[in-house]
């Protein structure tokens, strides 16, 4: 995303490497770079996560608020994605420079979460037609090292896993207005089921082959990539949305291959993420803990 220029010779080197199935850092076409995950590190958010994928750094905070449901969907809550590209990530993002990319990321995520089978908004309903929870998913991009879409969706999913929605103990109707009693205990809360939540997999077409997890240099060599949103239901993977990025176009067969690669990559990605989240929770417990953060 960040504009880095490469010489023709460097591009050739990367291209031949991808064809050889041996990329510049020794990975094969289907390997991800190691990631680092931490949840619950922003104390004043309902849920938060930070994911670092090589040089890509994403921080997600989730805020819960009570809102009125839409008239058309009285029994559904709301979710809203907002992406902020920090100027720390790339100088081009300064001012309104990152807006286009931020909107693209937020729209892709919204599309992926739109299907009720991927994310059931009914679980966020408190009183049909009267009150519902609204989740604000705020995504901050701190560093760009390629493959933003995957990192952002994984971090969002991790943050949603970490989100604690206060338990509503009683709802009273007072002169047509709903009044909610919310539990005083900060640890008395409900969690969001994350099994079905979609993740995005960017499949980048370089030369004639497709790779997952492109680095910033590899993204520069590709003219088109497909972002495949994959949601898991009953142990099977389903596509929730597909989005193409880059100025080039993809042939029908390539698109098919991209989607298949995306589906199989998402399977492992999802399993590893859930495993890591469960492990972290079992190791630290649900109460307060020391955050690791960015330093050290």
């Amino acid at each position: 995303m960040a504009n880095i220029s490469l010489s023709e010779a460097e591009k050739t080197f990367i291209l031949h490497g991808v064809e050889e199935d041996f990329r510049c850092d020794g990975r094969s076409r289907r390997d991800y770079r190691p990631m680092e995950l931490e949840t619950d590190l922003v104390s004043n958010a309902s849920g938060s996560a930070r994911l670092r994928l090589a040089n890509t750094d994403v921080l997600v905070g989730i805020k819960t608020e009570i809102d009125k449901p839409n008239y058309l969907t009285p029994d559904q809550g709301k979710i809203e994605f907002f992406v902020d590209c920090s100027a720390n990530a790339a100088p081009e993002f300064e001012g309104r420079g990152g807006e286009e990319l931020a909107l693209e990321l937020a729209d892709t995520l919204t599309n992926a979460y739109e299907s009720p089978k991927a994310f059931d908004l009914k679980t966020l309903c408190i009183l049909p037609g009267q009150q519902c929870w609204k989740l604000f998913v705020d995504i901050l991009i701190l560093e760009c090292g390629g493959n933003l879409f995957d990192a952002v969706s994984l971090a969002a999913k991790a943050a949603l896993f970490n989100t604690k929605i206060p338990r509503v103990t009683a709802a009273l109707m007072d002169a047509g207005e709903a009044e909610l009693l919310i539990s005083d205990d900060p640890y008395d809360c409900t969690r969001i089921q994350i099994e079905n939540l979609p993740i995005l997999v960017t499949v980048c077409k370089i030369g004639d082959s497709c790779v997952v997890d492109p680095s910033a240099e590899e993204e520069e060599c590709s003219i088109a990539s497909a972002v495949v949103g994959v949601s898991k239901r009953n142990g099977k993977n389903y596509i929730s949305n597909v989005h193409t990025i880059g100025e080039g176009s993809l042939h029908k067969d390539t698109m098919h291959n991209c989607i298949l690669l995306g589906l199989s990559a998402a399977e492992n990605l999802n399993n590893e993420l859930v495993k890591a989240l469960k492990l972290e929770e079992s190791r630290v417990g649900s109460k307060h803990r020391n955050t690791i953060g960015f330093l050290k």
């Binding site: 010489s7 041996f22 510049c24 289907r30 390997d31 190691p34 990631m35 995950l37 199989s264």
Partner: protein
Amino acid sequence: MTTNVNIRLAIDRVNMGLLAQNQTRAPRLYTPGEVVTGQFGFMKGHGTYVEGEDIKASVAGVMEQVNKLISIKPLKSRYVGEIGDVVVARITEVQQRRWKVDTNSRLDSVLLLSSVNLPGGELRRRGVEDEQMMRKYLQEGDLISAEVQNIFDEGTLSLYTRSLKYGKLSQGVLVKVFPSLVKRRKTHFHNLTCGASIILGNNGFIWISPTVNNEADGGDGGYAQNLNEVIPRADREVIARLRNCILALAHCKMMLYDTSILYAYEESMKYEVHELLQQEAIFDVAFLTQHRLRLQEE
């Protein structure tokens, strides 16, 4: 073939600081605002300021003392050029009679048309034709190796490539590290025994490329880029391993020079190339390299 995914937790992060602990002569680090010394008898240099009667550090780094001059050399900084430095740089703009070049310093550097070797190695006055051909020689995005010829008053570096060892770079990988990690040596061009060449730019840009036989080329000034040539898999593995080793050493803040890189390369042989992206492997390679370097010193 399945996708390799590895998500680790931040609580398991490997503490790279452990490497510094077993160093016997670890340099003292100063943080901004820390008192370096009393003002009397000393002069303040770069990276310091005077408050009250003390000289304090204004950047995080190590102290350097030249007689009475106290300066703090920052650990992380942009490249501060010195005449004679070898740099690896990228062309950002083609202008009249000069190229704008990114050398990782605070200001863009310049490469004058008169300070390049024209293809064919001719020595003559640069005419209008040469000016019009400039983009043919070097265009935006191209990487070059060069030497710092001059530093202008405002800090802009002027580069030159009038030697056959400098010039345009062909296929290979660029690695970016902090300039302070590159050790100053007599030579920054190395043909490593493991089968690749590296250029350790003083500006923190390191170029890794397959070894080519320069004598066979005949002096074309290094402007030929063979884009059709496919680098064989074996060379590619060496280059990727070197890249990961250099990044591992840089991650652990170890100095980069031919010996340390070669040791790291040898110590890394027990890992697969892609495994060197993992924190444990990075730590292990850096630890073993540090150990070997210390043994060699004694």
